[in-house]
């Protein structure tokens, strides 16, 4: 056919083929660009770069890796002035961890081997020249000694061990005690209010207080023990500082590392990022609570939205009288998908949190309200309300997908089931729903992807900047639906726009974005895997 000379290019449709492929290419390029930016910037954070000692004109020197170089904004195009951004670290000395310098001020740049990078619990990283180390036994090592490096690493891991012990002490035992004390205090107030004997409760409280003091001392002792070891260093201006080892998370010599050692640090930082809790206003440390919160919320949301959506769709498709009212309902459901998510957030706050949560508090936690300064339990943002809000938001997706899936079950299957004497409900239950399951799952996948990436409504109904206690833990009842939690999407917003030091937070924004994308991809792959298994089981007959 195409060889017929009279057929024009337009008639053969070639321009449309080009146009459609162009559309695909534009889409692919944008996705690839976004992904490569996120991946490169996100992974760069973890890579230990070489650290320069830069001498500036006025006799000042800085130690720190160069982050970026650009033409100074406002400098003439004919004679551009370049400036460089350095991560100078040591906020207690430099004020800001990232600083810009005109390139013309740079006199000399070198990469001395003795420079060290230190990640610390407070005041961000530091780039210094080490002088001497006093270990926990009081023995002193000069930085020039051969044993210095090994001893330093030993002390760093020892400090890490102590920090972990203190953390677990605070979290598990002290946390447990705290909640018991909280309860006893409420009991006490109730007893006082109702003129019941208060002595046993007071005694119990006293006992708990003592236990608390004991644990507190234990924690302090641990800290003191760690405080013996210290590292003396010189900063860029050759001023001496003493850094307790307890403060040091990681120490490395960026200009001496082999490629393998760099990789080691790279992966250990990624590991820390995924498994540790955030510190320093979220600009450092890990995002484990946020990962956990995002996952828990998304899974819980799916568990809520799937039955609701499927039930609604089954009624709409199978039972409801087809007519004007049904069309109207369907249009409303579809429009629900177009409502801005923040509106759902406001609704969630107004209805779920205040009305539903408030009622639950009135009914079941009246004591707590009365005797605990009116602090609400469910009447404030929490995991359950976030999940419910997002479930409501993603409901149209599931309903529409389920309706489509139900509609595409071959008519023959329906008839076959009815003809054997099955009732309509049995037909739906045993034949139609299983056959529609892959299509329903597609809807759930879409809903999960949308829910996991949503931020705006969550800010109103329970996501917070910092919530180190997870919504699922070892304290009964294990699943704490009323707890506020952290979310990767909100974490990103918080880092990017609410952080006191936006330059310090920027790398973390990319790393968090990368993680969120990976998480959503993983959730989707999981769901797609399930769907494909179902599809293989329920693939429709060939004719």
């Amino acid at each position: 056919m195409s060889s017929t000379p009279t057929t024009s290019t337009t008639a053969r449709g070639e321009p449309w083929v080009w146009l459609t492929s162009l559309g695909l290419i534009v889409g692919l390029v944008m996705v690839a660009g976004l992904l490569s930016l996120v991946v490169s910037e996100g992974l760069r954070v973890f890579w230990p770069e070489t650290v320069a000692v830069t001498e500036l004109k006025e006799g000042r020197a800085i130690i720190g890796p160069m982050v970026q170089r650009r033409i100074r904004p406002g400098s003439p195009a004919s004679a551009p002035v370049y400036e460089r951004q350095y991560q100078v670290g040591m906020r207690e000395v430099n004020g800001q961890a990232y600083q810009w310098f005109d390139e013309s001020r740079v006199v000399k740049e070198s990469f001395p081997a003795e420079v060290m990078g230190l990640e610390r619990m407070e005041n961000g990283p530091a780039f210094v020249r080490p002088v001497r180390l006093t270990n926990s036994a009081g023995k002193v090592y000069q930085a020039t000694e051969a044993a210095f490096a090994t001893e330093l690493q030993n002390e760093v891991s020892r400090a890490a061990g102590i920090r972990e012990k203190i953390a677990s002490l605070t979290k598990n035992e002290i946390g447990d005690l705290n909640s018991q004390m909280e309860k006893s205090r409420i009991d006490l107030r109730r007893a006082e209010d109702q003129h019941l004997p208060v002595e046993p409760i007071k005694a119990r409280l006293e006992q708990l207080n003592q236990a608390y003091a004991g644990l507190h001392d234990q924690a302090e002792n641990l800290q003191k023990q760690a405080g013996l070891a210290k590292l003396e260093v010189l900063d860029a201006a050759k001023n001496a500082h003493v850094i307790p080892l307890f403060q040091i998370v990681r120490a490395w010599s960026p200009n001496q590392l082999s490629f393998g050692e760099r990789l080691g640090i790279f992966f250990s930082r990624i590991g820390e990022f995924i498994t540790a809790e955030p510190r320093e206003a979220n600009t450092e440390g890990g995002v484990m609570p946020a990962i956990f919160g995002t996952l828990a919320m998304t899974v819980f949301m799916s568990l809520l939205v799937t039955p609701f959506g499927v039930i609604a769709a089954v009624y709409l498709r199978e039972y409801a009288q087809q007519g004007f009212l049904l069309r109207f309902v369907r249009i409303c459901v579809n429009n629900l998908a177009g409502v801005p998510s923040i509106v759902f957030g406001v609704f969630g706050l107004g209805f779920f949190v205040y009305v539903l949560g408030g009622t639950i508090d009135q009914l079941f936690f009246a004591d707590q309200l009365k005797y605990n300064n009116h602090s609400p339990v469910f009447g404030t943002g929490g995991l359950v309300w976030c999940s419910l809000t997002l479930a409501l938001m993603t409901l149209p997706v599931v309903i529409v997908a389920t309706e489509e899936a139900l509609g595409s079950v071959p008519r023959g299957m329906r008839e076959a089931s009815l003809a054997t004497g099955a009732s309509k409900w049995q037909t739906i239950r045993y034949v139609i729903l299983p056959a529609a399951a892959p299509g329903i799952l597609t809807g759930v996948i879409l809903a999960m992807a949308r829910g996991a990436g949503e931020v705006a409504p969550l800010m109103l109904v329970g996501v917070v900047k910092l919530a180190p206690t997870l919504p699922i833990d070892a304290t009964a009842p294990f699943l704490h639906l009323d707890r506020k939690f952290m979310h990767l999407g909100f974490h990103e917003y918080d880092l990017g726009f609410q952080s006191p030091d936006s330059d310090a937070a920027r790398p973390m924004v990319f790393a968090t974005t990368l993680l969120l994308i990976i998480l959503v991809v993983c959730l989707n792959i999981g769901a797609i895997y399930i769907r494909n298994r179902l599809r293989a089981r329920y693939k429709s007959a060939s004719f």
Binding site: G412, A435, R537
Partner: protein, 265 residues
């Protein structure tokens, strides 16, 4: 559970008016699909409905187990009685009617489940949990459908892996698993090759010992081969209904003769 008892074997060709269609008319919306049909179908015989496309033979068949109830906007007049009881009796549940009147469709429509689950589906939906009973019913049904030897080693494989002819026989096994009294077959061989068709026809011969069979077919040869009686429909009207021999050898209506000799249709 009484439903599962084996029916006492009686002489072939018991009641003459086992299914009795009386002055039956049927409308899809305002379109009249059937007009005053009256015919009696004897017990344990095979009756074939023939006629050109759109003549209403499938509509009539699908009324016998009220499958047409699924269609919106339908209306009927007259009556259909099975064993002297009207199928439109308000006291009769459609579900129990369909348990007595099994159906095999033009397109084989096995469920996307295992062969075993397909066969015992009708028992599953009434809540039979007894494994031994299910297995027994599965085997007898598949044997009756002449499929047992081919699938006995893969009962728990997906039914969708069977060939077209096997699938159709599976559908027959599924339809007879809860021991209906009547089996409706809506062009059961139209999508099958001649060998599979031959097997199904043999099967019909065997099944009529136990079931009353009504078959809709486009193939005159098939009607001649399998049926005892044949009804010819044209444009929603019953033109002629008689023994198959009479219809094919010596039809009384010129329209019937024209159709079976291939001059129209």
């Amino acid at each position: 559970m009484t439903r599962l008892k084996v029916r006492p074997s009686t002489e072939r060709g018991g009641r003459k008016d086992y299914i009795s269609i009386k002055n039956f008319g049927f409308w899809y919306g305002s379109k009249k699909a059937l007009e005053s049909i009256s015919l009696d179908i004897p017990e344990r015989q095979v009756v074939a409905f023939i006629g050109p496309s759109g003549c209403g033979k499938s509509t009539l068949l699908r009324n016998l187990n009220r499958m047409n109830d699924l269609v919106d906007n339908i209306r009927h007049e007259g009556d259909i009685q099975i064993d002297s009881r009207s199928i439109y009796d308000p006291g009769l549940e459609v579900i129990s009617l369909r348990r007595r009147v099994g159906m095999v469709f033009q397109k084989s429509n096995p469920f996307p489940k295992s062969i075993f689950e397909n066969v015992v589906y009708a028992l599953r939906v009434v809540g039979v949990r007894d494994r031994a009973l299910l297995e027994e019913v599965c085997e007898t049904s598949l044997r009756k459908a002449a499929l047992w030897d081919e699938v006995k080693d893969r009962l728990h494989d997906s039914a969708l892996g069977l060939s077209g002819g096997q699938m159709q026989r599976l559908c027959i096994a599924r339809a007879i698993a809860n021991r209906p009294e009547i089996l409706l077959m809506d062009e059961p061989c139209s999508a099958l090759d001649p060998i599979a068709t031959g097997k199904i026809e043999e099967l019909i011969h065997e099944l009529k010992e136990q079931f009353t069979i009504v078959i809709v077919t486009h193939s005159m040869q098939q009607a001649a081969r399998v049926s005892d009686r044949t009804a010819f429909f044209y444009l929603g009207k019953q033109v002629e209904y008689d023994t198959t021999e009479k219809i094919f050898m010596n039809p009384s209506q010129p329209q019937t003769e024209a159709y079976i000799s291939g001059r129209f249709g």
